[in-house]
Symmetry: C2
């Protein structure tokens, strides 16, 4: 069944130390999987296109390997039913139970009877086959070819000094093109001299927290625990700001003492998915101006908006009181560890003084490559493609829910890479358990609630439709539908 | 004169936003330099080979540009005297003073009469033309083509998960090949699970300092001030350990209270250049075993040794009490921001717990590329080439000093990228000032003396012959000779 292949691209170990290069390594890995019984007779393989995408190799390499294994009798190919493991291959173990269900019929799967726990192969019983957990974009879609082309241009033309110790600001080439890009795409008022490149959003947050020193930093009552950890490790205390259907209640900032800054996700509140209401945006700016405080604007997925014009960055309203924080982790890949801050003038020197001590530096070559990737238009092209891909997935998710779980209300879908599915009170943990039984990694909303915030009784799922590789998305939605509570 | 071209590769701004690509940009930049008078009539240009290396572009591109500018009348080329700026070009300003001396006659230049301060073009008066300051290898020699080839192989074969959030250990591919390499090349007893990849030596030192927590960390009485800064910012105090001709006096560790660890440079003491004597190595290990302390082994240039077999890493003697710290900053380029620690078992979990909070992560793509660069043998090839290059420069420096400044004793030259030149007592500052007048950036030994150590009366220069690009090395040595005090 196609589903059991969902994580195949990740599980397949291509041992390139053997002879014959990539194609030979793929042949060895596939033969091993059949010989060991990990792939049962009759199992349908993913299409050569989707496996190639997942492995990041040429489709021809996969197609050739399939053809050779058919010729050798390991696989069989029939018109209309794809490539399968041949029935006559003798597996060392016979995991017949894994052949129960047929292939998923189409992009939006219908509801499938819940078959109960599906045990994985020995030693991998608790490894989920699917993941709809937030934090990571579809990393199988990383634009390897375009990135390598940009790297070639960047490294070929870089001046020699670019290979020396990088400045703590980050490379000027990147800061210059980012200033243009952020102005154009996010309405950020950016001067290259006020941009500081970081090894990810968290490094920026850590630097800012250390620069702010003591006192309190307001955070949204729903957010990420490791953000709060970084803030408190720097010596600040966090104070939760309630989040409702208009975003964080920034009007309450004025009632709080000793708050130096507020960390907000204005474009798409994480995880509830709502944009910050214009009144709330104004209240945040007014508080910062009145108190000399700062808004830390976490624009983690601001580039992904589907149904209307992007909401411009809050920073555009007041660059002297808002720190804009953007990242390549959602738009390209977390592996790059590249993010950027646009700082108010009075924070530039303190941040650079701290970052300049050396333990915080980012590599320059990826910075040069990203600069080239941006200036050549490859970044815009990549984002256009990913927007289409994510939007299609969102539409598939919404359509599947409307057809098969109409009782579930979906929100937060105008932007970003995740949706919020409201659940009947008291059912969140049971649904998460059911998802685990379906081999689906999933997070509930309660996981993101600040434990110091007043108790809330909202049960919901945070469904990150951006995470899985394309070929396993349908299977993931299928598993989600099976985990949801039945309708009225 | 060739000298004025020393930093040309760095100063030349190739504006690639214009039409016609790299060749056209180079033509524009050269014409601008002649038109503006920055390049005076008669000025000799660097060879196409050396400019190409410095700019990191194909030699043919430079040679073609020269040929075209000769055809256009901007340059003139005569057999035996190289390419020069044509005499008939009308400069906007006439910096005739800069044409005083002829071309440097050969690789080991003779002493040239000190011409007094050479003013640079307006606005760049205090920018040195040469640098023999330590810390950076010859970055113009970065193996761009081999690195790009490794990047292509690494990115093409990387599994999709490699584009997700990197593990705080670093990529397994890199840790595995590093374990092999360090065992083979440096005698390190390394298990991939005890290797942690860092964004440079300083990050490793910062992590270790934080893990050690409180108390004192012994440092060599000659060393780098920013190392001491990172240690004290983590909450530790430093205590200097005297350095003599056998390296750090590690026998004195037992007399010190509350010392958690000692930071040493056993292979090649920085900056004095001596290897740690075997008795001192044993004393360091004995102290660590007796007290449960750690030796932090900073193996910053252990791969560069010229006159005998490399001194194996101290870590090989006792992997449970020595942290080995290596880096790509000297062997490849500081721009990579890649280094590695091999940790005693009991430090692995604390270091990963601290690093795992996210603000310390390194990009995965360069890690994958370095793994491929190592496993393909490209790293060994690069090191072989660089060893030859640096050894040749060292020999040139030593020969030039022997011929023209025989009164100067040279030491620390068996390894590494720098030499120490002893000066008559009380003359160090005067020589540094003379060097500045020669347009030469240079450091004295006193700059590296721990200010909390007992006063020492050693005057010396730390001459980093590894730093300049090849084509300006002879000019740098020439400037150094002019700055040295006259012999008896």
């Amino acid at each position: 069944m196609e589903n059991s292949w969902a994580t195949f691209g990740r599980d397949l170990h291509l041992d390139l130390t053997g002879p014959g290069g990539l194609r030979a390594a793929l042949l060895r890995a596939l033969r091993d999987a059949v010989r060991s019984g990990r792939l049962a007779p009759g199992t349908r393989l993913p299409s050569s296109r989707s496996l190639a995408v997942d492995l990041g190799i040429a489709r021809n390499t996969v197609a050739d390997a399939y053809a050779e294994l058919v010729a050798e009798g390991w696989l069989s190919a029939r018109q209309g039913s794809g490539t399968r493991v041949a029935e006559r291959v003798l597996p060392r173990t016979a995991p017949a139970a894994r052949r129960a269900s047929g292939p998923v019929p189409g992009p939006v799967p219908g509801p499938v009877p819940v078959p109960g726990p599906v045990p994985g192969p020995a030693g991998r019983a608790d490894r989920p086959r699917f993941a709809l957990t937030p934090g990571t974009p579809d990393v199988a879609a990383f634009p390897r070819t375009a990135w390598l082309a940009a790297a070639r241009r960047a490294l070929t033309t870089a001046p020699s000094e670019a290979f020396g110790y990088p400045a703590s600001h980050g490379r000027p080439e990147l800061r210059t093109v980012l200033a243009d890009y952020l102005a154009r795409a996010r309405g950020v008022r950016a001067d290259p001299d006020r941009i500081v490149i970081c090894a990810g959003f968290l490094q920026g947050l850590a630097l800012l927290s250390r620069v702010l020193g003591t006192g309190r930093l307001a955070v949204e009552s729903y957010g990420l625990d490791f953000h709060r950890t970084v803030i408190t490790r720097a010596g600040l205390r966090t104070v939760p700001l309630p989040v409702d259907e208009r975003g964080a209640r920034t009007g309450e900032l004025t009632a709080l003492d000793d708050v130096r800054a507020a960390l907000l996700t204005p474009a798409h509140q994480f995880p509830t998915g709502v944009p910050l209401h214009p009144d709330r945006r104004a209240a945040a700016i007014n508080w910062a101006r009145a108190t000399g405080g700062f808004i830390l604007e976490d624009d983690y997925d601001g580039e992904f908006r589907y149904d209307r014009k992007p909401v411009g960055a809050l920073q555009g309203l007041d660059p002297d009181h808002v720190v804009y924080l953007g990242t390549a982790s959602k738009s390209l890949a977390p592996a790059l560890r590249l993010a950027w801050m646009v700082l108010p003038e009075r924070l530039v020197d303190p941040v650079l003084a701290l970052k300049g001590t050396g333990e915080w530096q980012s590599g320059a070559l990826d910075q040069l490559t990203l600069a080239e990737f941006l200036s050549s238009g490859a970044y815009d092209r990549h984002l256009r493609g990913m927007r289409l891909r994510y939007r299609r997935r969102r539409d598939q998710l919404v359509a599947a829910l409307a057809a098969h779980a109409p009782q579930v209300r979906v929100s937060g879908i105008a932007a970003g890479l995740h949706a919020v599915l409201e659940l009947p009170p008291g059912t969140e943990q049971a649904v998460l358990q059911a998802a685990r039984r379906q081999g689906l990694a999933l997070e509930g909303l309660s996981r993101f609630r600040d434990p110091t915030a007043p108790p809330a009784s909202r049960d919901a799922l945070v469904v990150a439709y951006g995470t899985p590789p394309d070929h396993s998305f349908a299977g993931a939605v299928d598993a989600l539908l099976r985990a949801l509570p039945p309708g009225e």
